[in-house]
């Protein structure tokens, strides 16, 4: 033990204070050394931060992608666990990292449970539903809608169960999170508001989001302490207006200006041989600007939507509280959109272009096929697998990492001292992993 670090007690204590803002929680008597720093007054803020290194993540993501392919997908449970450990352990709240305590084994068993119980049920359900839907024609559409709703509800249920599992495997300062509440209730309220949202052509969407956030946050606990949520649907609606109103206004103006031409177009369809093609051409020619505008709208709506979702997230975080502590978020949609664009461009360069090149080379070059002979199919498969690995790594290292880093570098806690003595939860936690969510492919990592 010769090489043990020799440092004075005072510098050691400064080290400690470096990663624990407030080592002297109420009730702990301070020493002379720690008294140099005064305890943080209430109303103080402390930042979230993200300390992940891209190089380390790259290694994990690459190994994950390779092993997942080699094991025909079975490794994905270990892959997910490794990725989560990376992200969780690099998210520092008030300098103390989160810890992910879930294991791949839990995810694997959760998956087996789904296979054992749900697969035959699902097969029978699909078949039965199909046969029922065949009988009278009138019922068909209703049953189709019902089916779509049931599937959507299933997704919501799986989503809630997934977060319940994830939170139960997340600890901070040795105290774990938990998502109480009922996944069935969450599903019910989502479906109810979804129905209203569809009925109002999207106007009620903020109410849907509000209901979801409120239920999720108010049933989220840190230890025994529940989170509180103070936002209203109207607050979200104010932000949603900017997404939903411009397209409606623009489409209405278009409809008013080109009413007659549009009606002519509607009358043209379904086309019959007697109508002349020139007529259609003249109609579409006149409507060229309309199609251009709609195309432009089509491109801007995703951007507007992301912009809304980021504003929503900021608002929701700001309206959330925990045991007297509050949160402040300044997430920028430009950063999120930026990472999406960068990821898209990278994928285009490293996956799209080589993929297109491989396809073209084989399509147009019998000489190449002759040369490679029976190897050509093998080479195509190998190339396809390589592109899968590349895209998986790019999405994890650039997109997930970029967005998580940005989000957790832009949230801070107001009055962090309030979180210094929250007691551990006693409620039981879910035993297995998120089998259903895995089966339905809910959630990115």
């Amino acid at each position: 033990m010769d090489k043990k670090p020799r440092r004075s007690l005072v510098t050691m204590r400064h080290d400690l204070e470096d990663f624990t803002d407030n080592p002297r929680a109420p009730g702990v008597s301070g020493t002379a050394a720690s008294a140099e720093k005064t305890a943080a007054p209430s109303g103080d803020t402390a930042a979230f931060s993200f300390s992940g290194k891209r190089g380390a993540l790259f290694k994990i993501a690459l190994m994950n992608a390779l092993l997942t392919i080699l094991t025909l997908g079975i490794y994905r449970f270990w892959a997910k666990t490794r990725i989560r450990r990376f992200f969780w352990s690099n998210i520092r709240i008030h300098k103390e990292p989160l810890e992910y305590t879930g294991t791949a084994m839990e995810l694997l068993i959760g998956f087996l449970v789904v296979l054992a119980i749900l697969v035959p049920l699902f097969a029978v359900y699909e078949g039965a539903l199909f046969l029922v839907s065949r009988s009278p024609d009138g019922f068909q559409i209703g049953l189709q809608v019902l089916y779509a709703f049931a599937l959507l509800g299933f997704f919501q249920y799986a989503f809630y169960r997934m977060w319940r599992y994830r939170f139960s495997r997340t600890t901070w300062r040795g105290v774990r999170f938990s998502q109480a509440g009922s996944a069935w209730k969450y599903m019910g309220l989502t479906l109810a508001w979804l129905l209203i949202t569809v009925g109002t052509l999207g106007l009620a969407y903020p109410w849907l989001r509000h209901a979801q956030w409120k239920y999720r946050i108010e049933h989220l606990h840190y230890g025994q302490q529940p989170f509180a949520y103070g936002g209203t649907a109207l607050d979200l609606a104010k932000r949603w207006v900017f997404v939903i109103v411009p397209p409606i206004v623009i489409l209405t103006i278009i409809a008013l200006i080109e009413y007659e031409t549009l009606m002519a177009l509607v009358e043209y369809f379904p086309p019959n041989p007697e109508q002349n093609f020139d007529q259609l051409q003249s109609i579409t020619g006149q409507l060229a600007w309309v199609f251009a505008t709609i195309g432009l709208l089509y491109l801007t709506i995703p951007v507007l939507y992301i912009w809304y979702r980021v504003r929503e997230l900021n608002f929701v975080v700001n309206q959330s509280g925990l045991a007297g502590a509050g949160f402040r978020a300044r997430i920028r949609s430009s950063a999120i959109i930026g990472w999406i664009v960068v990821t898209g461009a990278t994928l285009f360069i490293f996956v799209g272009i080589p993929g297109g090149f491989i396809a073209l080379a084989f399509e147009n070059s019998p000489a190449l096929q002759d040369l490679l002979g029976s190897w050509s199919i093998g080479l195509i498969i190998l190339g396809f697998l390589a592109l899968m690995v590349i895209s998986s790594v790019v999405v994890t290292v650039i997109l997930s990492n970029g967005i998580i880093r940005h989000i957790f570098s832009n949230i801070s806690i107001i009055n962090p001292a309030a979180l210094a003595s929250v007691t551990q939860a006693t409620a039981t936690k879910p035993e297995f992993g998120e089998g259903l969510a895995d089966a339905l492919d809910v959630g990115a990592f």
Binding site: K4, R24, V28, L112, V113, L115, A123, G174, P366, V422
Partner: protein, 376 residues
């Protein structure tokens, strides 16, 4: 030696400033309020595998909620020296063996049941009730995929020029007439269609929605119009019994299941592989027998002699070596003298299937004159 650390007791989120002292028997956590906590030597574990990042953390066993946070990563080496078991990961396989075997076994039973019993049963019901429009759409897509794949194998690049005989031409009417004669007695729903594809393989098969696909290679092998009638009648049997649709729906169900296993339920891979799956699938013996029975019935009804077809099947049988390469949808297991015998024994028809003119036109359907090329 004393290691400065933070201690979380797992009961509250409160941080306790602590000093750690290491003994070979265990680790002592000395808190500032005078309390002492002792972890056994075999209980001391790294939370994360040791790295250069700071701070690093320790846990007590694999289930304990207590945590120690140590700022200086150079202590890791010393800890490993004291507690060799500190880096050993939890043995989750043996801990979960019972659950893994239990649920794993249940999952296997459930999958086997689904694939062998539920999916075929459901597929049959679904196939029989599938709307014709959907069936035709599936057939069209499968047709395009199969032609594309086979063209690739034969190194024919342009798919558009592979279909012989434009619709509305005389030869097309000959084929339509043949089909019309061989249709079942009472059917309002199916409208089968023969497509001749300009590829050299000697094969024919039926697709969902009533597409009957004939390859040029097969046409070249035929010596008599009644051979063609026998083949078309057999394929029409598959169409009438919706055999291909059943195979397709079954493949669809199985693909989705496989997708589930491999973590792809968006169905992308499953749907992409469907055409291929159809290409590699085959009818059951029972389905082949049904198709043969159907063929004999309609040939007899139309007084078309099935003896040439019997001879053709005999020729195919003697040519077994090449059968391996034949498409599975036609690559029938009972492609033996059974079938030839069956046709021979049950044929009562006496007349040819069509006029010589019609037969010559069909035989030459893929031959293009320069004028054809020009008008296309």
């Amino acid at each position: 030696m004393m290691i400065p650390a933070l201690y979380y007791d797992g009961r509250t989120s409160q941080a306790h400033v602590a000093q750690l002292s290491l003994q070979n028997t265990g680790l002592t956590v000395q808190l500032e309020d005078g309390r002492k906590i002792i972890w056994g030597a075999e209980e001391v574990k790294f939370v994360e595998p040791p790295t250069a990042t700071t701070p690093f953390r320790l846990r007590q066993g694999f289930n304990g909620a207590e945590r120690l946070v140590i700022a200086d990563s150079s202590w890791q080496k010393i800890l490993i020296g004291y507690y060799p078991l500190i880096t050993q990961p939890d043995n989750l396989w043996s801990k979960n063996a019972k659950r893994l075997f239990g649920w794993g076994g249940a999952a296997v039973i459930s999958l086997v049941f689904t694939v062998l019993v539920a999916v075929p049963l459901i597929a049959r019901q679904v196939a029989e009730n599938l709307p014709l429009a959907v069936e035709q759409q599936i057939g069209q897509q499968a047709f395009e995929h199969i032609v594309k794949t086979l063209a690739f194998i034969e190194q024919r690049t342009s798919e558009n020029n592979l279909i012989c005989g434009a619709s509305g031409t005389k030869v097309d009417q000959h084929l339509a007439k043949l089909i019309h004669r061989l249709l079942p007695a009472q059917t309002a729903t199916i409208k089968p269609l023969i497509k001749v594809v300009d590829l050299k393989m000697d094969n024919a098969f039926a697709l969902p929605g009533g597409h009957i696909v004939l390859f040029r290679g097969l046409l070249e092998k035929l010596q008599d119009p009644n051979e063609l009638a026998g083949i078309v009648a057999h394929e029409l049997g598959h169409v009438a019994y919706r055999h291909s649709t059943k195979v397709f729906v079954e493949q669809l169900g199985t693909s989705v299941l496989i997708g589930l296993l491999f973590g792809d339920v968006t169905g992308g891979a499953a749907v992409a592989g469907l055409g291929q799956a159809l290409l590699n699938s085959s009818h059951t013996r029972e389905a082949e027998r049904e198709a043969d029975t159907y063929a004999i019935e309609v040939l007899n009804r139309e007084n078309i002699s099935a003896l040439p077809a019997a001879r053709f099947f005999q020729r195919l049988f003697e040519d077994q070596g090449r059968l391996e390469k034949r498409l599975s949808l036609l690559n029938t297991h009972p492609m033996s003298d059974d079938r030839a015998d069956f046709f021979q024994a049950n044929s009562t028809g006496t007349s040819p299937a069509m006029s010589d003119d019609a037969w010559i036109a069909i035989k030459n359907i893929c031959a293009r004159s320069p004028i054809d090329d020009f008008t296309q």
